[in-house]
Structure formats: C-alpha cells, structure tokens
Symmetry: D2
Subunit: 153 residues, 4 copies
C-alpha cells in the first residue's frame, strides 16, 4: 500500500480535515485522535474504554468500524477539492481477530481516487502489551459532494 503518488487538489487539506474531525461528537466519544494525515492516507488512534466494549470486554466491532470508516473517509477527504464534502456510500468490514488490547490504530488508504467515487481501504490494529495485531480490514466507497452546504466537510 503506497500512497506516495497522490497529489492533493487542496493545499490546505490538513487544516480542513482536522476542523471536520473536531466537529464529530462520535470521535470524542471514542476518545479518538487523528494520528497521521498525508495525501490519500489517514490514521486514527484510540484507547480502550469500558464504554466501547462488547460482552467480553473487547472493543465492540461497531466501534472498530466507526474509527476505521472515519480513517477511510478522511484519507479520501485529503484528495478532494476545498469546497467538497465526503459521504460514505457503503463499506464492508472483515473482523479478523478479537479487538483485544489497550490501544488501537486504524489506517485508511485511498486505493482509487475519482472525481465522483473514491475507494479506500482500511486496516485496524490492536496494540496488546506492546504487540501489534491486525484485527480488521475494510473497503469503503466514498462520494465527493459539491454544492450542498449541509454536507460540506
């Protein structure tokens, strides 16, 4: 997975994406931070919390997906025009191992950018006592939206 070929249209993409991230109540509930942001690439980190667990005390698959979906969405957003918004049309997630750990890192990477449709891939890792493990993979389809004020950013 190599994003080095991507050229952003909006030189201020990082500022724009960080402002959008700060407005998401869900990211605050997850305790998530935007750990990495490059053209075509984003990473989100978060720590284990009781309020994010399923019945065995692992991170809930839905919370893994929420962070991974956001990583994919922000990866796509870095390549969009300054006045555009991004909508997730759909995604698919495979849960590869229990989300057992103290910290979690979700990577999003653009596989194919497009004027209307962008496809991104995600990988989620659990860090359990210092050991990193792949716990989920995602493919997300995102749409660039322009000219709709309520969807901007």
């Amino acid at each position: 997975m190599d994003a080095s070929r991507f050229e952003p249209q909006d030189p201020d993409f990082a500022e724009r994406v960080r402002a959008s991230f700060a407005k998401q109540g869900a990211m605050q509930t997850l305790g998530a931070t935007l750990a990495e942001l490059e053209p075509g690439r984003a990473a989100i980190e978060l720590a284990w919390q009781q309020g994010l667990t399923q019945q065995h005390g692992f991170l809930h698959a839905g919370m893994v997906a929420a962070a991974l979906d956001s990583a994919c969405g922000y990866a796509a957003s870095t390549l969009m025009p300054a006045d555009a918004g991004v909508l997730t049309i759909e995604y698919k997630i495979n849960l590869l191992a229990p989300a057992q750990g103290q910290r979690f890192r979700m990577h999003g990477l653009v596989l194919k950018p497009g004027r209307t449709i962008t496809v991104a891939e995600g990988r989620a890792f659990a860090i359990d006592n210092g050991r990193e493990k792949l716990i989920a993979s995602m493919t997300a389809t995102l749409m660039t939206i322009t000219g709709r004020e309520n969807i901007r950013h």
Copy 2:
C-alpha cells in the same frame, strides 16, 4: 422478510440474549435498548445524542453500523444453542440517507441460519418528527462458536 419459520433450539434464548446485551458497554454508550426479540429477529432502539454525531450533527455512520451489527448478531443468537457464542465474521453496510432524526430503530433478521454460518440482514430507520425513513441496510455473516469459554454469549 418473514421470520415466522424459525424455531429456536434454546427455549431460554430471550433471557440469554438480554443478559449478553446488558454486558455491552458500547450499547450503554449508544443509549440502546433491545426493543424486540423474536426467534430470528431483533430490534434495537436509541435516541440522538451529541456524542454519537458526525460533523453535520447527524448520527455517525459508525454508530448506525454498531447498532445495526448488534441487531443482526442478536437476531442470529436467538437461533443458536444455549452454550454457543456468536461472532461477527464480516458485514457490509449501505448508507442510504443521512441519519437525521430524534430516534433510530435498527432491525436484524436472519436470512439463512446454519450450524456454523448464519447470514442476517439489517435495516436501520430514522424517526424524524414522527416520519420514519430507511437510512441503512446491512448484510452480516455470523459464526456460531462452541467450546470457547471466552467467546460464550
């Protein structure tokens, strides 16, 4: 979608599923309740909260997915043996409309039960000023797990 043909193996499925639901920190964070539980069918309800939003104030897609995935998982769980656990292997969600509303209802329904693999479908609805709108659809693949204590229920 008609689940009337499903016969539970475990007559106490409802008690078992409700106990599992109560142990999920993520469901408490979502403010979710188990509104319906029949053989092969489950519904989860929740109310809008700032802590569940994306950048436009709508429900975050990840939170819609978390509740919908749980509805699918519990629908599958109703048909499993008493000593079995259920694991989500993967799911796909299509986000059909913005999750704009005051309340949300997520339905899970078993499409094909199986000894090892169960496939369930989900539908998420937003209730916005009394009007119900389909906002997402899901297909989830679940696995019955037996003999692993830490995955039971």
Copy 3:
C-alpha cells in the same frame, strides 16, 4: 420487497433494457434470458450447463454472481433516464447454499433509487427437481452515468 412504488422516468425503459441485454456476450454465454422486467425490478433465468460449473458440477459462484449482478443492474436501469447508462460500482454476494439444480432464477430489486447512486438487492434461486431454494443474496451499488457516449445503456 415491494417495488410497486417505483415510477419510471423513461416510458420506453423495457425496450432500452432489452436492447442492452441483447448486446451482452456474457449473457449469451450464460444462456440467460430476461424473464421479468418491471419498474425497479428484473429477473434473469438460465439453465445448468457444463461450461458454467465449479469442480463439483454445481453452478460456479462467479456465474451465479454474474447473472445476479446483471439482474440488479437492469432493475436499476429501469428507473434511469432514457439517455443514461448504469455502472456497477461494487457489490457483495453471500453464497447461502450450493448452486445445485437444473434451472436458476436471479431477481434484482431496487432498494433505494437515487439521482446518482442506486442501491439494489438480489436473490438467486436454484430450481432442483421442481423445488426452489434460495442460494445467494446480493447488495449492489450502481451509478447513473450521463453524457458519456461509451457507457450509455
């Protein structure tokens, strides 16, 4: 699944869709016929052939998917403008049972039409000695394309 609410924009949708179907070499290879065509709904039928099998002599999953994807695409196409083309962006298929039978019927139904994005659902059935069995389900995301001559229809 009820498609009765769909109103076609193009009164000649059936003629347009049938002309497109006739141009698909893949549909001839499958021996497929367009068995049903209503606004928001299409069904494709085909018979078992040795050239469509996997290693156990059942219909190959990829051939089930090819016919089911086409049923979803044509269901979407019925609701599009006369000068538009339809592109499959992505689909997901769950294979629910071996594709064992003498004949097969694939249904596509629009779940959510849209100006740009349409979501359709598919169901594939095997007819084995007169008994019909659900063998696969699909969710497909399709895009309306206008103004590109080589993608029209």
Copy 4:
C-alpha cells in the same frame, strides 16, 4: 501484500489445486489458466473473448468477479489440509475501472488464514496495449470444509 510468511500444511498443495482447477467448466469457458501458485497466493490469467463481454464490449463485471473469486479461493486452498475443501461464504468486489484490454490477470492473496475461516484479497488488472491497469479489488471470506465428500477439493 506479502505472503512469504505462509507455510502450507499440505506439501502437495500445487498438484491438488491444479487438479481442482482442471475440473471447473467455468474456468474453461473463461479460457482461464492458473498463472501463479504459491503458498497463500494464486494468479489467474485470461484473454478477452466476445462471449465474456458486457454491452460495451468490455469484460463483463461478473466474469472479472468469477476469475477473481477463483484466484482468492485457490490462494486460500493452498494453505488448507490435503483432505479439505474450500467454500466461498461471501465476497465483495469494487469495480474500479472499465475492464478494457486484451488480457486480464487476477491475483488472490490470503490476508488472514484460519482453521475454519480464511480471508483473502484480490486485485484484477487489465493489460491494454501493454499497459497494466487496476480494474477491481475483492475481499473474500472462505471456509475450510472437512469430512464432506462432495465438497472435497
């Protein structure tokens, strides 16, 4: 994507997989050959044919998917026990560009092997006048089947 870490359980995996491939009528219809076979990895090649086309003369998405699904399935099969069969439970495909070209190459790579469930990823490329282009990506979930004679291999 690096499969170098995979150790096959069956030293004769290549012979076993090739024998299965030879029995698939669908692969003959596609004119497909098994171009590469390593532990956790497989590639399938095929040439354009009129009988594999959609309405614009490009390769039909369903035919791309059939070959890509097989590449994923054979990649998984290389890591399975000698007496096991492999079933595709589900897959998702994103169609990234029109399948325009003279030859096509589909790669399957195991992302996460498992005793029961294996997840593989696929990439399809079109070779158009010597230029290779990514046209599709897939994620497939496969199940190891043992003890069922009619599903072996």
